[in-house]
């Protein structure tokens, strides 16, 4: 199954790059020159490669967040909101707990951010579990609520009063160590990778993971076995929201050093799409997250040196998603049919 997905994914990557090249030709840009600048923009020096890593971390975490909720068959489209709330929580904790030793300060900030994100996700989770409220609607609407709330917070109570809507700088004890100056890549990279591995292990090898996978695949079976499906659904959402909150915290504590209004340009949505293309297969998530990070970082350099607008890369990315969703057909056909336990098997 893994081999199949990798082959499909690689094919889709190549295909979307080709389509992108076609688009560039249509608008009379030189694709070879463009892609060259793209690669350079993503890898050529410490600043550029660091930029790629900067973008990789939130993509990995938000993709992971979505994949976790998908494991309990709930689509947490609210990761963007959890990202924002986690970020502002970390920005607050970074200032409020000044004076603590760095290790403790960082842990507390993470903890608060994850708690905030987790509780926020618990709301649509509970609504879905108890009242069958469609989570796609609630999570997307709550995203706006979260965003406007943080906008309020950053303009009023938590404002740094600097003319720009932002919070004051967090204490140095809450700041994550930079690993690749002059870029802003930081130890959040290792933290996120560790979280990824931990979550993967948890899902595959623990009793909680068994319950999560069971509920996600078949709620009725899980109930017959004795699993409290509602509780597991909400737990899955809380975990998902917590990871989203952590992503936001790392952005504040590692990249910016404060909370800036509207700092995310839909990172969580990109993460969600990484997860969708990976068919929520944990093994593919880091690979695709890295690919997307390369595209995003590289397109900046590409724009600077070739004048091709970044938005074109965004279109290619979105096309990639569309193509991947179609490619899913081949691998999805074999897996979805397995999931459906179709009647034909009864004839054997």
């Amino acid at each position: 199954m893994f081999k199949n997905s990798v082959k499909n994914t690689l094919l889709t990557i190549v295909l979307s790059l080709l389509v992108g090249a076609l688009l560039m030709l249509v608008f009379s840009y030189n694709p070879i020159y463009a892609y060259n600048e793209l690669i350079k923009g993503a890898f050529s020096n410490a600043f550029n490669f660091g930029g790629t890593l900067e973008k990789f971390v939130p993509l990995l975490l938000t993709a992971l967040a979505f994949a976790v909720s998908a494991k309990v068959s709930i689509a947490n489209v609210g990761v963007e909101g959890e990202l924002y709330l986690g970020a502002i929580a970390a920005a607050w904790a970074g200032v409020a707990f000044k004076g603590l030793p760095p290790f403790i300060h960082i842990l507390i900030s993470f903890f608060i951010a994850m708690m905030v994100g987790g509780l926020w996700a618990a709301i649509p989770g509970a609504l879905r579990a108890y009242w069958r409220v469609n989570e796609v609607c609630t999570t997307i609407l709550l995203n706006y609520v979260a965003k406007y709330f943080t906008a309020y917070a950053v303009n009023y109570p938590l404002s740094a009063h600097m003319g720009v809507p932002r919070t004051p700088d967090i204490a140095s004890s809450a700041t994550l160590l930079r690993i690749l100056p002059p870029s802003r890549a930081n130890i959040g990279l290792f933290i996120s990778l560790a979280v990824y591995l931990f979550v993967w292990f948890m899902i595959q090898r623990t009793t909680l993971g068994y319950k999560i996978r069971s509920v996600g695949a078949n709620v009725e079976y899980s109930r017959s076995i004795g699993i409290n499906s509602k509780r597991i659904m909400i737990s899955g959402m809380i975990l998902s929201g917590a990871i989203g909150g952590l992503a936001g915290a790392i952005e504040v504590m590692g990249i910016y050093g404060y909370f800036l209004d509207n700092f995310s340009t839909g990172i969580a949505f990109d993460g969600m799409l990484v997860s969708l293309i990976a068919i929520n297969d944990f093994r593919l998530i880091p690979i695709l997250a890295l690919f997307l990070a390369v595209l995003k970082q590289g397109s900046l350099g590409m724009e600077r040196f070739t004048g091709i607008p970044k938005a074109l890369i965004d279109i290619i990315t979105a096309l990639f998603i569309l193509l991947a969703a179609l490619q899913l057909l081949q691998s999805l056909r074999s897996s979805k049919l397995l999931h459906k336990f179709s009647k034909k098997k009864e004839l054997a």
Partner: protein
């Protein structure tokens, strides 16, 4: 006391009716688009993206041709194209309709941003007095009375057409051959197929209609509700339409009520702004209210279901309920 009443009247006044209709109309068309596919058991989450792209196309065509008619047609056509993509991906390639929908939303954002830059050489938003909006109407009957005049004047085309459309769609779904087949396809596709109905065709048709309605929603948003294009101007309204659909149980009339509730809270929020409350809270209220109303509606459905299943209720009562 006088201050209280004059404050209240700043919030609740006759203009509120007009504002409610104004605010609810873009959501209404998105909601009706959602209702149509939902009756065929397809959850179309790409309505947001179709709306956004159509609103852009409408502005462009209106700007370059000076004709709102052409703009409207172009918007509907845009919706149609996206619908075809969704239909083929989901019905032929069996792609997950949620993934497709979200992909469409992403594409729409990126595409409109890109084309705004490329064609109109600007970013953020585009306004020009050369943009021809959808026509506005006054019901001349009441032009004598000042209050009634404000209530019955200045309605954009679709703000008026929206209301009869709700009833028309309701009639079509529940009273016609077309509607019966649609409902059966959505409730039990196998049953419809064995009755000789082409399920694929029906679902494809509904997705197309959904696209057209979403296209109209977009055209109204940029040429009726406002007269410009702003990046991401739909701002979640497509999803509000979907929420309204859930609220109404895919019934056009109840869905309309849901849209009116949203419009009402939106209108009140703008009025409340003049009281000095932080603007962000005002912006938040419609979204929050939609979630609360939706949750309450679903909770009610669950409660009704529980009651009708209950063995403690005497049979006469519960079958009346059913």
């Amino acid at each position: 006391m006088n201050l209280f009443f004059s404050n209240i009247s700043m919030i609740f006044n006759i203009n509120l009716i007009h504002s409610t209709i104004r605010s609810s109309t873009p959501v209404l068309f998105a909601a009706l688009a959602s209702v149509l596919t939902q009756q065929a058991d397809i959850l179309n989450v790409g309505i947001e993206g179709i709306m956004l792209t159509s609103s852009f196309v409408a502005v462009i065509i209106s700007y370059f041709t000076g004709s709102w008619v052409l703009a409207l047609i172009a918007a509907m056509f845009t919706g149609l194209i996206f619908a075809v993509i969704i239909a083929i991906s989901h019905l032929n390639f069996k792609a997950d309709v949620f993934a497709i929908g979200m992909a469409i939303n992403m594409i729409a954002l990126a595409l409109t941003r890109f084309l705004l830059q490329k064609i109109l050489k600007t970013s953020g938003s585009f306004y020009d007095k050369a943009i021809v909006p959808l026509p506005r109407f006054n019901i001349a009957f009441f032009s004598n009375n000042a209050t009634l005049k404000s209530l019955f004047s200045g309605y954009s085309l679709f703000e008026i057409l929206g209301i009869p459309l709700v009833f028309y769609v309701s009639f079509m779904i529940y009273k016609t051959v077309w509607g019966l087949r649609l409902r059966c396809v959505g409730q039990n596709a196998m049953a419809a197929a064995t009755a000789g109905i082409n399920v694929y065709n029906k679902k494809f048709e509904m997705i197309l209609w959904s696209g057209i309605l979403a296209g109209i929603a977009g055209a109204h948003l940029s040429l009726g509700y406002s007269q410009m294009f702003t990046e991401n101007m739909t701002n979640g309204r497509g999803f509000m339409g979907v929420a309204a659909m859930f609220f109404g149980g895919a019934n056009p009339l109840w869905t309309w009520i849901g849209c009116l509730i949203f419009g009402f809270t939106d209108a009140i929020a703008s009025n409340l702004q003049s009281f000095g409350l932080p603007p962000q809270f005002m912006l938040m209220i419609p979204y929050l209210m939609t979630v609360i109303v939706l949750a309450a509606a679903m909770a009610r459905y669950v409660k009704i279901e529980k009651y009708s299943k209950s063995a403690l209720v005497s049979s006469a009562k519960s079958s009346k309920e059913a």
